[in-house]
Assembly symmetry: C2
Homo-oligomer: 408 residues x 2
C-alpha cells in the first residue's frame, strides 16, 4: 500500500472538539490487520435501548460485513449494541471465507461484550479480495472491551483511516424543550468515492431519543442531500456503510423535530465535505450549484456530470476557467438542457449566457478566481425550478500517484 | 493550447497506404484558424450521385456545424457533395454567431465548387466557445478548389488533427461479383472521447453503389459495435461527426451485401482503435470482453463501467493487476451481477471465480502480464448470453498534463 505522508491542503487546521455522547463508549487497538505501528480496529458499545439506523452501498458486489449489517438493521432495539470496524482489509470479494470471518468476529464481540450477536455490526475497509485475518482481531477483544471510554471518538476516527490524510469528525448541539441534545460523528474515505449511497464509512452518535423506524427514515432522507451529493472519482466502493446510533440518554424525544433534523444534517454535510477535502490528490474543493433544471433529479444528473467529468476536474486542477468543458458535461449528461438558455457562473463572475460567452466576461477575472482553494460553479438551465448542489474536488497528478500503485 | 510533441507509444509505425476512392478528391490548406505552421482546413468534393450517411453526437449542447449536418443528411443525393472541415476551433457554444459562420462557409463552398449548399457538410473541431474566424477559411476556398486531388487522403487526415499525436487512416478492399470495392477512412480524436455516438470526427469513403437510406442503416448498426464501444475519458464531445460517403464509382451495388458490411466494419473498428491508441496520455490499449451477462445491453454497461473507472484505469497505468477494482466497477455499474458467479481473466490468466480469487492465481503471473502494451480483461458474469466488447486506454500523468492547461 502506498505511503501517503502529506496531509491534504484542504484539511481542517485541527480535529474538532467533539462532545461526549452519553450511552456510547469506544476503544481502539493496533491489531496488525495489515498496517504496522498504528491503530486499526475500533469497538463501540452502545447502551440498551439504542436505536441503530444504517444506509449502505448499493453495489452489486457488496462486501460480507455490509450484507451482514443490512440483515440486522431494523431488528429489535431493546438490548445493547456494538460496532466493530477494522481498516487495512475490506473483506470484500472473499467468498465463503468472508462470511465466515464476519461470523467469527460478531460471535466473539457478542461473547466479550454481552451484546446479542444480532446487534453486533461490523465494517471492514481496505484492500479487496484478500482474506481478513480475523483471528488478529478476535485475539484483542478482551483488551478492547476493558478499554472502553466515553471520550475516545477521536481515537476511533483515527483507527478507521486507510488512505485518508486526516481524521474526520463533526458535531452539533441543539436545545429542545430546554434540554441539550448532542450529535457527533466520524468518517473515513478519500478514494472510490461516488456514493450510490455513501461511499465510505461513517458513524454518527446522538443521545436523542427516537425509535428506529423514524431514525431510519430521517437518515435516508438526509443521506440523499449530503453523502449522496459528493463525488471524488465516480467509483463506488463495495463497503460503504453509515451507521447512526441514537442512545436516548438525553431523554429528549426528537421524532419529527426539525431542529434535530437540521443538526443531524449539518453533521452529515460537514463529514461529507471533509471526505471530499481528503479526496485522493485533491487541491481544490468545488461546489456545483445547479438551478433552473426541469426537475431536482435532472439538476442532480447535471451536477454529477460536471463533478465527475475528468476534463472539468483537470481544468480546475490547472486553474483554467475552461467553461467550454462545463457546457460539454451538461450536454452529455442525458438530462434536459437547452444550449441557448444556459447560464454559467464561476463564483460571482457571469461566464456564459444565451448560448455564448457573456459580453461582460473577462478571462483574467475568471483566471484569478480559479486560483482560490474553494470554488463555486453555478449553472442555471433556464428551464424550470429543479435544483441540486453537489461537491467534488479536482483531478491531479496526486490521484494518479496514489492509485497507480496502491497495492504495490 | 498545449504543445503535444511526443507521439503516442501505441501509434502505428506509419500511416497506412490508402487506396484511391474513385469519385472523391481532397485538398488541404494552412488557413491559420488557430494553429500556425500546419494545415488546418480540408475540403473533399464528391461526384454527383454520392450517397452521404452520417451519425452525430447526442450531446444536448451540439455545435452549430453538427446541427447543420443533421438537417442535411437524408436529403436528395443526385448532385455532387462537399465536406469542409477545420481544426483549431469547434464553433461550439457560439450562439447566433456560430450559425452565421456555418452559413457563410457553406455558401462560399457552394459558390467555389458548384455544389448545392444543401449538399455542403461542415465540421469544426478545437476550442469551444470562441468565434470561428470563418473569413480565414472563406478566403482560401478558390485555392482549395484548384488543388483538389484524388490521392490526398493522408494530407486530409493531418489537417483535421487537434491534440492527436498521429494521423489516423484505415482501409479495406472487398471483391464482389468479380469487381473490387474499396473503403478508406480517416479520423481524428484523442480526448473528450466517450462516444454517445462517435466522439470525434470520422470521414469514410467508398466507391460502392448503395442508396442513402440503406447506407444510413448500415452505418448506424456498425457505429454501435465500433465507435460507440470506445472510451478514453467518459467525456462526450459537442462536435462528434461521422460521415460515410458512397460515390458508386465502382458500379457495384452493395445493399444488403455482408462482405461489404464486414469490410466497412473493419475500417470503422480500425479507426476507432486508433482513436483509443491516441487517447490523451495513453500508454496501454485495453480490450474489455464481457460475456455471460443477462443481456447485450447489460454487458455493455458493465464493459463501459470498467473502461471508464478511474481506479481501474490508474491501476492499468501502474501495471497493477488490481482485479478488486474490476469487481468494484461491475458492482457499481447498475447492471445485473452476482458476486459469486463472476469470473475475471487478465489475458489467459484466471484471476477470480466463485466470488473470490482463483486457487490457481499467482500474482506474479498477472503482474508480468500487465507489463504488456495491449491487454485483455475478460469478465464472465455467469448469468446469461449477453456479451459486448469495449476498448479503452489507461489513465496516466500524461492525461493530467495535457488537460490541466489545454487552453493556456
Amino acid at each position: 500500500m502506498a505511503k501517503i505522508t502529506k496531509v491534504s491542503p484542504l484539511a481542517p487546521a485541527a480535529f474538532p472538539d467533539l462532545p461526549v455522547i452519553d450511552g456510547v463508549r469506544f476503544a481502539t487497538v493496533a491489531a496488525g490487520v495489515r498496517y504496522q505501528g498504528r491503530t486499526d480496529v475500533m469497538l463501540a458499545v452502545l447502551d440498551p435501548g439504542t436505536a441503530v439506523a444504517g444506509v449502505f452501498t448499493r453495489s452489486a458486489t457488496r462486501a460480507a460485513p455490509v450484507l451482514d449489517c443490512q440483515d440486522k438493521i431494523g431488528g429489535p432495539s431493546d438490548g445493547p449494541a456494538a460496532i466493530l470496524v477494522n481498516s487495512g482489509n475490506a473483506n470484500a470479494f472473499t467468498g465463503q471465507y468472508g462470511r465466515a470471518s464476519v461470523e467469527q468476529i460478531t460471535a466473539a464481540v457478542a461473547q466479550a461484550t454481552g451484546v446479542a450477536q444480532n446487534r453486533v455490526f461490523t465494517s471492514s475497509t481496505g484492500v479487496i479480495g484478500e482474506p481478513l485475518p480475523h483471528d488478529r482481531i478476535v485475539a484483542r477483544l478482551d483488551e478492547l472491551t476493558a478499554g472502553l471510554r466515553a471520550d475516545a471518538l477521536e481515537q476511533a476516527a483515527r483507527a478507521i483511516m486507510t488512505t485518508d490524510t486526516f481524521p474526520k469528525g463533526a458535531s452539533a448541539r441543539v436545545e429542545i424543550d430546554g434540554k441539550t441534545v448532542s450529535v457527533a460523528g466520524i468518517a473515513k474515505g478519500s478514494g472510490m468515492i461516488a456514493p450510490d449511497m455513501a461511499t465510505m464509512l461513517v458513524y454518527i452518535f446522538t443521545d436523542a431519543k427516537i425509535d428506529q423506524s423514524a431514525l431510519q427514515r430521517m437518515l435516508a432522507e438526509q443521506t440523499d442531500r449530503t453523502f449522496n451529493c459528493i463525488t471524488v472519482d465516480s467509483d463506488t466502493s463495495t463497503s460503504d456503510s453509515l451507521l447512526l446510533c441514537a442512545t436516548g440518554a438525553s431523554g429528549v424525544e426528537v421524532t419529527g423535530n426539525a431542529d434535530f433534523a437540521r443538526a443531524l444534517e449539518s453533521v452529515m454535510l460537514d463529514l461529507a465535505h471533509q471526505v471530499v477535502k481528503d479526496g485522493e490528490g485533491a487541491t481544490k474543493f468545488v461546489e456545483i450549484r445547479v438551478t433552473g433544471a426541469a426537475s431536482d433529479a435532472d439538476a442532480k444528473v447535471h451536477g454529477m456530470a460536471i463533478a465527475n467529468s475528468p476534463l472539468v476536474k483537470t481544468a480546475i486542477a490547472g486553474e483554467d476557467p475552461n467553461w467550454g468543458r462545463v457546457v460539454m458535461a451538461i450536454g452529455k449528461s442525458g438530462a434536459a438542457a437547452d444550449r441557448d438558455k444556459l447560464s454559467i457562473r464561476f463564483g460571482d463572475i457571469l461566464v456564459a449566457e444565451k448560448g455564448w460567452v457573456s459580453p461582460t466576461y473577462r478571462e483574467e477575472d475568471a483566471a484569478a478566481y480559479m486560483k482560490g482553494q474553494e470554488l463555486v460553479i453555478a449553472v442555471d438551465l433556464g428551464l424550470g425550478e429543479g435544483k441540486a448542489t453537489v461537491w467534488t474536488c479536482d483531478l491531479t497528478h496526486g490521484y494518479i500517484e496514489i492509485n497507480a500503485d496502491y497495492r504495490s
